[in-house]
Symmetry: D2
Subunit: 141 residues, 4 copies
């Protein structure tokens, strides 16, 4: 497992909210990360669709980890801000967020993500995100 | 309980994801809604702060319900998109999102929300949102 | 010239602000539009870079026309909202915004755009946008 | 004229694009700035409304200068990103953008702005912005 993947997997494992959602880290590469979450009634809104907040959360985490995969050594990342467009109801068996770095600077990284609903093996684009992430030096222990 | 409050409370009660987060609807008025969530380790990210996705979710729901409180009869609301700025770490005993309608149109409503961390009885602004919500006719049964 | 191109070119020609900027419509296809603007000192901010507002304007117009290229007959489009990330200073001889439709719905269309600075024939990504556009029936004359 | 106002006015005077728009700096205080632009047919879109790009530009500049008014000495500011919601057509004699700092950090500042159309002396809210600005040390000469 390359260093960058280990770095991302270790941080993901410490995010208790990912476990609360049932989210898994399904792909990690330099500058791109994929996170998936299976349908669960505990994640729904009033119409039994998965809540926009869940889809946004996995896009946000995928963007953050895509940024972390290219961040300078000794740094961690924090979300500065993001915009999420919900384009279709989150109806499906499983939901996948795929993020990629658009530009990595010394201080700020810009990432984009798309989210897909998977139903009967077919993917449908349901949401998209544009996010700004900041690199922060990890304080010495 | 006025009609608009009932309308918002009934929809909120059907959002299972709000229960998963431990969120409560703490205030409803015409054009403004407040949602609160107590700290819980199940909601944290890698630094033990509450995850940006949780804070964003309660701001999104508060915006949606602020829009619903002024929507035409026979309509429900869906989030079209939102932008969330995370301005300080979500550290505290309790987190509150307060949303208000900025403009209600026939089809689209624009809402703004702020989120606060409450620690030892003091509030700190930690995040802010700008959101677009669409009114949709409720299909006849 | 196909109908959709004519529809976009006629509307563009009526946008006096595009002429004020010196902007040109350099490509129109179904679901994608490109707008370019040459450097001009009249468009600069305090550091002699082209102003973020100029780059945002050509991305916004490119998104709007990409949406118009797929809008139902008898409709025009209006920008509901957009987010613009300025990733590098707008330094160059010429600036190009390229927009594409991500999802076209009956009422709302979501578009993404990237903007590039061209200097000595080389393109550099300087900005990116995510935009929501609404279709509106053209009132009868 | 206090230092902070001078700092803002000097930078504004160097923005040639503000002159191209006919924009004026109408108020400067610590953490808040107002910019106005009179109607001019050169600023219009296809319906003879003022272009969304113009309204966005004055909100962006007002946000940047609100951030500059509280930035550490020896620093200038750059827009990282912003989101603009266009809530009503820009129809009027004059347009005003009012920005205020929501949170000023060491590196990043978050500002909000509203834009109003003024017609026959009455103001109407037409747009709103949420923006992220970065402080950058001014290079030594």
């Amino acid at each position: 497992m390359p260093d960058l993947e280990q770095r991302v997997r270790q941080s993901f494992a410490r995010q208790q909210f990912m476990q609360t959602l049932g989210a898994e880290l399904t792909a990690v590469a330099e500058g791109s990360v994929e996170i998936a979450v299976p349908f669960n009634p505990r994640l729904t809104q009033q119409n039994e669709f998965v809540h926009a907040g869940v889809i946004t959360t996995i896009m946000d985490s995928a963007c953050g980890y895509a940024a972390l995969s290219v961040a300078p050594a000794g740094h961690e990342v924090l979300s500065v801000e993001f915009k999420s467009n919900l384009m279709a109801p989150a109806v499906g068996d499983r939901f996948v967020a795929r993020a990629r770095v658009k530009r990595a600077g010394k201080t700020l990284t810009v990432c984009a993500a798309d989210a897909f609903a998977i139903k009967d093996g077919r993917e449908k684009l349901i949401a998209t995100m544009l996010a700004t992430i900041i690199n922060q030096p990890i304080p010495n222990p």
